[in-house]
Structures are given as structure tokens and as C-alpha cells.
Symmetry: C2
Subunit: 395 residues, 2 copies
């Protein structure tokens, strides 16, 4: 079997995951057989709405909320745009203020920058060298005109986990003394597979998910909207989704996302343990066997599937392409920012120098990653790094 | 076989269509097998981007435009929101003016009403008794501050076809003498299966499509954006879709939509002819055999699959439910406005009285509709109408 035919060793699960076969089997009848529009009142439509209702229950069970608090969207980018623009549209103050961090996903940061041009005030909180936010800095950043705090639960590049529940407590306390309540949002896209996403424990008013990051389909996401949260819809039209998001529901996608939450709920603890063990093998062996390699981010506050490693004096993209030739798929950072030559804003935020940021590789394991996969990486990576360093103009 | 098990006679294709088995077969590998994120540079990602590129070519071929002019969205509601909000965001004048019609889809009308609250001026052009727009009225409505004209190609409730190419000519002429060019958009969601959608012939700058209205999947749509058109993105984040629409691409959905345009292109003429013949049988037989029944909309300027019929002195919803019990799926109007008790804005716009608007049924045929299906409707409908009239408090 030539390399091209071999099933790849896929270590880019933070970019996207395959649809789980069980998820796909659940979605399948809703394409050609039960194809109704859930807004239709006849039997064909009702079969679709029953399926959507079941998915809504699965997601609500997973998040520990009511079904009426689940809004299905086209993905986390839409959910996060909805949060920022929707909360601001509903805010009744003149120059509203948003608190976020320097290591958010591009769909939060780009939207914030867009809003800044329209007169919104944004505070970008710094993180420490491990990528962790100081909760005190959130408290200190709160102002009279603060309407929203949005912090990513676990970072997509370096896997750093933020103390969301602690921030939730801070905001809860602050709100006791305020008339204009601060709304708290977290982007849980990367966290969902590994961390507790119970919205009550986290103390969040809004939470974003994306189907394709946890073995569900692409093109479907969720925004949890706590009952009573002041947010205006941003996609106008029909009365779908409790009149909060117009547009025909993506029934097969929603059914798949629902099933994926159910499977995640069942397998999370065991999967996390398994992946963390393999991930630790990967990190420890690389740091031990490849000179001038460093772990980006935190050891302790880290998603169990994430290894982001910096190799001095070579380009991450070259490593990535060489690994790809060996049938190993990894990335140099967020898929959403690929195509740009800018160094990762996340790595810069944790204090990595510009020239070093370019030498980083993100490995993100998945539920089907095996020890053999990791051993293959550990076998082919050292000679690749060695060869590239010999060729490097940076050395 | 009991009624519940019988395959339904589905005559609600304007609400949604089943995914064509050939379309589904084309999409299938992109869920579990070629699951890459098209933004990823490795081989797994490249397989996804190749598939997206092919779909983009299929759509561009269909519309007669360049691949770089095709933006994939989550559906027509997003595309139409994008048009209105994106053109306004890019417009550099103080109180911009939009021209539209009274019989647009709710996602245009609701967005226009939202924008009016924010100081945008909107002209809603009336239509005649058949639902046709007078092209002169477009010409007369154009003002110094007009930035956008948006007219639905074929109406979703009564199937009336608008003279889009003529309006395109009017705007082209008007633009020759203007500095701030007027942008012309059409919502071609219902038209795509039956009418020529060549964007050059239509003279449009923007055109919206939805996958699930022509045997493609739900959750995916298109916005054609003519090169050079001044429009700002409304979904911020990554650099996807030529930096015009952020968010991970819905690869299987896009692949399915691409295939669906290819099939539509191949079958359109024959399908239209077949459906029109059956549709005429339906209309003529109903009007002949059921007293006090009337066709809503135009005979001549009408989609070949649409029959919208008004029955005096009974509720459309009652007819619909009785037909559903007989295994026949029809609707009382747009699926997007179901759940409201308001009479159809389209029927009111063509001069139907409020109490009569409630007595209308929309039958929309599809490619698999058979003569037996129509004969079954013609067999069960007259006694239903008779029975309901006997019970009616309106008689």
C-alpha cells in the first residue's frame, strides 16, 4: 500500500473530526426519507420536528438546561457572532463595553475588532505564560458600561483551560450590585469532549458549540441562551428557534449534533483518560528526544488531547508538510487562520517570540488515536526535524 | 398498509424537497471518510477543498459566472440577510434607500423592517392582482440615495414570476448616469428548478439560492456576488470564502448543493414540462369540480409546479389537515410563516380579502409527482371541501 492509500494518522482533531458512524447512521434517514421542513404542519413536517425536538433534549440534557434555551445555528462562528452582535443590539446603553481575552478564537476577535470600529469599547485581557487568565483581571476590568464578558473555555491552539466557573462566580457577585447585568458567554467548542459543560456549574448565560468538533457534522452549531438573557436575533426572517434565529432548520445536521452530545456524554471520561495518556507519551518523548523543543502552554490546565510544541530554528509549516508526506496530519495552528502568514496571536500572547511562533506544531488527538499512531510520529519526527535544521537558513 | 405507513403524496416542494439519492450518494463520503477541514493544508484537508472547488464550479457553471463569485452560506435566509445588511454596511451614504416588493420572502421583509428601525428608507413596491410587479414602478422608485433593489424571482406562495431581466436592464440604464451605483439582487430560491438563472442574462449583481429547495441538503445556500460589488461580510471570523463569510465550510452540504445544480441543469426543461402538465390538470379539475374555488396569482407568469387555490368560506388549515389524514401533504402558505395566525402577506398584496386569504391551499409539485398522485387529490379533495363547508360557521 502506497502512502497515499494508507489511512492517515489524523492528529488534527481540533480542526475537525470525522462524523462518528453511529452519528451518521442516526442522521441518514433525514436526508432522503424523513425530509420534511419542521415548520410544516403536516405529517411529513411533524416527523422532522419530532427529530429536532429529540436532538434539542439531548443537547439540553448535556448542558443541564431547558430545551427552550437551545438555539441551533450553522456553527460556532455564527453562534459567536450572534453573541457579540446580539447582546450589543439588545444593550440599552450608549457606549457598551465588552471584556474578552487575547487568546480567543478569530471569530470572537475579528467580530470585536469590527465592533470597535462602530464605537464599542473592548478590553482584551492578557494571559500568563501558560495561557491562563487571571480571574482577578476580569474583576478589575468590569466597568459601569460592561455588558458582556466572553472567554473561551479551552483554547483551540494550545488547549489551555480557563477557570470559567470562577469567572462565573465573579460576574454573579458583580451583578448583585448592578442594575445593568453583565452577560457571561463561553466558547466551549474545544472543551465539549473533555470538560464538564453544565451551564449552571459554569455560571454562564450563553455558551457556543460546533457539531464538527465532537464527531458531529459540519454546518451545525448551538447557542445556549439562558432564559431571560437580553439578546436580539441577528438572522432575520421566519419565526424559527423561538423567534431567535430565522431559517429552515438543518434537520439531519441537528439530529447528528444531538446524537454526538449523547455519545460524548457517555464516553467523555474514558476517552479523556485514554487520550491524555497517549498525549503525555507524545509530549514527553518529543521533549526528551528532540533537542530545542518546548511545550507551548500549560502542563496542568490543558485539554487532554492537545500537544503544541515549538521547535527552535525551523518552520512549523515545513515540519507539517513532511509529516503529511508520511501520512500524518497535524497543523501549525488554527485552521481558521491558515492561509495567513501572520504568527499565531495565541503564541504571541503567551510570550513566544515572533520567529519562534512560526516553529510550532499542534498535535490534537482523537478518540480513535492509537499508541501505534503516536509511536509512528515519534519514529518519523526526529529525523524530519534534524534534516530541516540542517537545511534551515535560521540556524 | 395503513395510511400512516403509506408513502405520502408530497405536494409541498416549495417548503422543502427530499435530497435526491444521487446527490446523497455524492455527499456521503464527506461525512466519515473525507472529513477534513478545507482550511487545513495537509492531505486530509486538501481532499475536502478539492470537493468544495468542484461544487463551486458546478454552481458557477449553472449561474454562468466565475467560481470566485460564489459564496457558500448556511441557506437562503443567511444569503438574504447578507445582501441587505452587507450592502448597507458597505454603502457610504447617510440615509440609504432600498427598493423591494410587498411579496418578498419573510427573510427579506423582516430584515427590511429591522433596518427601517435603524434609519434605512425602504420602498415596498405593490404588485398587480396576479402578483406581477410593474417594471415602471421600479424605475419611478429609484432615488438619489437608492443603494439596492431586491426582487424575488418567483414567489414562494403563489409562484408568480417577476420580470427580473427587464428590471436588470432598467437598473443598468439608471447606473450609467449615476455615481453611486444601484446594486441589484434577486432571491432565486424557488426559481432555480424551472427558470433560467444565468446571472448575466438576468443582469443581477447578487443572487440567493438554498440547497434544500432543489433536491440538495438543508443547511447550505449560495450567494452569488458579482466581482466588484460593494458588500461587507456579516459573519466575522476566519478568512474563508474569499474573506467574505467566516466559518468552517459545510463540506458535505456544499458537495450536495453542487451536485444538485448539475442535476437541475440537466433535467430542468423536461421536469418543468412534466410538472406543468400535471399542475394544469390539478388546477383545471379543481376549478371545474369544486364550486367557489379560485386560482390565486397568475396563469401565465407562474412557476410550472405551483397551484395556489382559494376555497370560499372554509379554513385552509382544515383542508390541509384533512388532506394530511389522507396521506397528502400540502400547505396553507409559506412554511416560514407557519405558526402565525396572520393572513398571508402575499395574498393580501394581490388583493385577496383577509377572510378569504385564510381559505387558501398551496400545492407544489415535484419531479417525482405522478398522475396517480394528482388523481388521488382530485378524488379526495371535493368531499373534504363539501364536508367542511357544511360544518363551517363562515357559510
Amino acid at each position: 500500500m502506497s502512502r497515499q492509500d494508507a489511512p492517515p494518522i489524523y492528529l488534527d482533531h481540533a480542526a475537525t473530526t470525522p462524523v462518528d458512524p453511529e452519528v451518521f447512521a442516526t442522521m441518514k434517514p433525514y436526508f432522503t426519507e424523513h425530509y420534511g421542513n419542521p415548520a410544516s404542519i403536516h405529517t411529513v413536517g411533524q416527523k422532522a420536528i419530532i427529530a429536532v425536538d429529540e436532538a434539542r433534549e439531548q443537547v439540553a440534557d448535556f448542558l443541564g438546561c431547558k430545551t427552550g434555551e437551545i438555539i441551533f445555528t450553522s456553527g460556532a462562528t455564527e453562534s459567536n457572532n450572534f453573541v457579540l452582535k446580539g447582546v450589543l443590539a439588545a444593550a440599552k446603553i450608549q457606549k457598551p463595553h465588552i471584556i474578552t481575552s487575547t487568546i480567543e478564537h478569530p471569530c470572537i476577535l475579528d467580530t470585536c475588532q469590527h465592533l470597535e470600529k462602530r464605537g464599542v469599547e473592548v478590553t482584551y485581557l492578557p494571559v500568563d505564560k501558560e495561557g491562563v487568565l487571571n480571574t482577578k483581571s476580569v474583576q478589575e476590568a468590569i466597568k459601569e458600561n460592561t455588558v458582556l464578558v466572553t472567554i473561551i473555555y479551552a483554547n483551540n491552539e494550545i488547549g489551555t483551560i480557563q477557570p470559567i466557573a470562577e469567572i462565573g462566580e465573579i460576574i454573579k457577585k458583580a451583578n448583585q450590585e448592578r442594575k445593568n447585568k453583565i452577560i457571561f458567554h463561553t466558547d466551549a467548542v474545544q472543551a465539549i469532549q473533555y470538560l464538564d459543560c453544565n451551564v449552571k456549574k459554569l455560571g454562564v448565560d450563553l455558551l457556543s458549540l460546533s457539531g464538527h468538533k465532537f464527531y458531529g457534522p459540519k454546518g451545525v452549531g448551538v447557542l445556549f441562551v439562558k432564559e431571560g438573557t437580553l439578546i436580539e436575533k441577528i438572522q432575520h426572517g421566519g419565526h424559527q428557534e423561538y423567534n431567535k434565529r430565522a431559517g429552515t432548520l438543518n434537520v439531519p445536521g441537528i439530529v447528528g449534533l444531538g446524537k454526538a452530545t449523547e455519545l460524548t456524554s457517555k464516553n467523555r471520561v474514558a476517552d479523556s483518560k485514554k487520550q491524555q495518556k497517549l498525549r503525555d507519551l507524545l509530549i514527553n518523548s518529543i521533549l526528551k528526544n528532540i533537542p530545542d523543543s518546548h511545550l507551548n502552554g500549560s502542563n496542568k490546565h490543558r485539554l487532554p488531547n492537545n500537544a503544541n510544541i515549538r521547535f527552535d530554528k525551523i518552520e512549523g509549516e515545513s515540519i507539517m508538510l513532511h509529516l503529511d508526506f508520511e501520512g500524518i496530519a497535524v497543523s501549525t495552528g488554527s485552521a481558521c487562520t491558515s492561509g495567513t502568514l501572520e504568527p499565531s496571536h495565541v503564541l504571541l500572547a503567551i510570550g513566544v517570540a515572533k520567529e519562534q511562533a512560526h516553529g510550532s506544531i499542534r498535535f490534537t488527538l482523537g478518540k480513535d488515536t492509537s499508541e501505534a499512531d503516536i509511536k509512528k510520529v515519534l519514529e518519523v519526527l526526529p529525523p524530519i526535524v534534524k534534516k530541516l535544521r540542517q537545511m534551515s537558513p535560521l540556524k
